[in-house]
């Protein structure tokens, strides 16, 4: 206490005019979510695996110079070697090229399916939630009826009616009832957001319903929708795989992971590698999407935010 000079005890004028200042760095919602996702090693690994898979489905079929549909009777059922990295199938086609070509179809179905069902689901669920009451009641009963139809029946019916088994009809038949889950999710979330006081504040300000939906309701359910999309994609890929496996999927010479596995199944005991590679890809994709979805949910959940 002794060594303090007396002039230190002069009053310092208070400066309150400048208002409050902020001590912490700025952190937006998406920035914050990304920061949290980055710390999640499993999710980051999943992203890397998925990116690699997607890149390979784009460039993979052209990598070793063998086309996925060239038949070479002199090289049937070869084991993996330096020329045919994943071996060849019973018609002598290069499995490496075929796996990535198949991956293209599977990925397209997964991503396209998820996008379509998100768009339909968001619009449908959003309308039901915003208007509420009778509109909501009727729209949700319709969803319940649609959801109760097994999709296998829809797929078979569609392929009979359209007489085609192309990629387009497959996506059509899968999304025809697939959007219902998303619509339910969006409706539930929006109903919750609608109760919030900031929606009432916007209404007292005279903001139009359209603006309330686009500026308040959608941004506030977006995080949860993104998580749902990452869980939807593997769902579609698996559905396609299953359909192809039972022969309702894409037709040769085009192929998908399910179709590859189905074809390989007959020779499985003698040539297990033909089954192994497409199955590995299916497993990797499904697992990565699911783990990424988990990571995203943790990152985007506002309750865990600090």
């Amino acid at each position: 206490m002794e060594g303090i000079s007396k002039d230190k005890f002069k009053k310092v004028p208070m400066d309150v005019s400048k208002g409050d200042t902020m001590a912490r760095p700025r952190m937006g919602y998406w920035q914050d979510a990304w920061r949290r996702l980055k710390t999640n090693k499993v999710a980051m690994l999943s992203i890397i695996v998925l990116l690699t898979l997607i890149i390979m489905t784009i460039i993979g079929p052209h990598l070793n110079g063998y086309s996925y549909k060239t038949v070479d009777p002199s090289k049937v059922n070869m084991k993996p070697n330096s020329e045919h990295w994943f071996g060849t199938d019973e018609l002598g086609r290069d499995v490496f090229s075929r796996v990535w070509q198949a991956g293209r179809i599977s990925m397209i179905i997964g991503i396209l399916g998820a996008i379509i069902d998100t768009i339909i689901g968001c619009i449908y669920g959003g309308i039901a939630a915003y208007f509420g009451g009778k509109v909501d009641n009727i729209m949700m009963r319709i969803v319940e009826i649609l959801i109760s139809i097994p999709y296998l029946i829809v797929v078979i019916l569609i392929s009979i009616v359209t007489e085609s088994r192309s990629l387009g009809t497959m996506i059509l038949s899968l999304t025809l009832t697939g959007w219902c889950g998303m619509a339910r999710l969006v409706r539930g979330q929006m109903l919750q957001v609608k109760q919030q006081e900031y929606i009432m504040a916007a209404e007292t300000l005279g903001v139009s319903p359209w603006k309330i939906i686009t500026k308040h309701l959608i941004p506030n359910v977006l995080g949860i929708v993104i998580v749902a999309i990452t869980f939807d994609i593997p769902g579609y890929i698996f559905a396609e795989t299953f359909l192809s496996y039972i022969g309702l999927g894409v037709q040769p010479p085009n192929t998908s992971w399910g179709a590859l596995a189905s074809a390989a199944q007959q020779n499985f005991i003698f040539y297990p590698h033909q089954m192994f590679f497409p199955s590995l890809m299916i497993a990797l994709t499904m697992l990565s999407f699911t783990l990424l979805g988990d990571g995203l949910r943790d990152a985007l959940d506002p309750k865990l935010r600090q």
Partner: protein
């Protein structure tokens, strides 16, 4: 000689967040005597709830961290070194806590009777029949009418005041020596608040429980506490008995807290005394006195060095540079002095 039952020494708690380390509690010491009521008063974020939770060892580690050198001693036993097993009997039998929001601290799917009986069965090893009898007795103790019927109701069937009574009954079920009440009346209406405070007072007399009351409301403290500890930015800035704090406080922050409460004897629409600014962000290192940026009496020294503790009496002490002999004489604000003569 009064019996000390709790000693907190140099308690430091930090939280690790993305932006860095938030030092929520920055070295506080205090004692609690048997049967005494100590109030921790301060604004939100001043570390009062963190202190309470640290005593119960309820903080999640990580992100929280109780720094080395901190000591919490209950009856000669270091709480920070307790084993898991000892801890579970410690919470409940020796110390228990009631929270601000009774709705979130009760399990909505269990009847209140079962929730009270649960802790009786675990800690007192009673069988079902005895526990039920005891539960009814407890509910009667906290003035819940029709206790026999009420033990079958679920939390959502009760009003806020009733739920808080149930929480108190649960907290008292094993006769703890210390009860920590974290803003127990903040969520309640004034008339209910008065009822709950009266109830706590009665129970305190009956069981000789020591109470640590965490609150931001000095009105609540005035008729309830024996000792008061004013906290700011993770530190204790002033402590004293109730009368010392209300009638003889010397710290500008205590003055500010006391004067910002509206008095019923003022004429309407006068400007209230209001503290400018907001408390410092605890992520920053604090240089000097933590209150200096909002203090009317701020001096150069306050910005540079942390004030030392000045003892005014055995019970009354504070950390403020105004107590230094070189400092200009500063009087208590007029609002507070006026009241003293009344």
């Amino acid at each position: 000689m009064v019996e000390k039952i709790l000693e907190v020494k140099n308690l430091q708690v930090s939280f690790h967040t993305y932006a860095g380390e938030v030092r929520a509690v920055r070295g506080i010491d205090f004692d609690l005597d048997k049967g005494e009521t100590l109030a921790l008063v301060g604004e939100s974020g001043c570390g009062k709830t963190v202190t309470a939770k640290a005593i119960m060892r309820l903080l999640k580690v990580p992100p929280a961290e109780i720094k080395k050198g901190s000591e919490i001693i209950f009856n000669g036993e270091d709480v920070l070194k307790m084993s898991k097993k000892r801890l579970s009997s410690f919470r409940g039998e020796d110390i228990s806590m009631i929270f601000q929001d009774p709705m979130t601290s009760l399990n909505p799917t269990m009847t209140i009777g079962n929730q009270i009986m649960e802790s009786l069965k675990i800690h007192k090893k009673l069988n079902k029949k005895e526990a039920e009898k005891e539960a009814i007795k407890l509910l009667e103790l906290v003035n819940i009418p029709n206790a026999k019927e009420r033990i079958k109701s679920f939390p959502h069937q009760l009003s806020g005041g009733m739920r808080q009574r149930v929480m108190i009954a649960i907290a008292l079920s094993c006769n703890p020596k210390i009860l920590i009440a974290d803003e127990p009346t903040t969520a309640l209406d004034v008339t209910i608040q008065a009822q709950i405070l009266d109830l706590l007072k009665e129970l305190k007399k009956e069981f000789e429980t020591a109470i640590i009351l965490v609150t931001h409301d000095l009105g609540v403290v005035a008729n309830f506490a024996d000792k008061i500890q004013v906290m700011y930015a993770g530190q204790v800035v002033e402590r004293g008995t109730r009368d010392e704090i209300f009638y003889n406080s010397m710290h500008p922050y205590t003055w500010a807290l006391l004067s910002s409460v509206p008095r019923l004897n003022t004429k309407g629409k006068e400007e209230l005394y209001a503290l400018g600014g907001t408390p410092p962000d605890l992520i920053l290192p604090l240089k000097g006195c933590p209150f200096s940026s909002r203090c009317e009496h701020c001096m150069e020294i306050c910005l540079e060095e942390k004030p030392e503790i000045t003892k005014l009496s055995d019970t009354h002490s504070l950390s403020c540079w105004l107590q230094h002999p070189y400092a200009p004489k500063t009087e208590r604000p007029a609002v507070l002095r006026g009241e003293r003569d009344e």
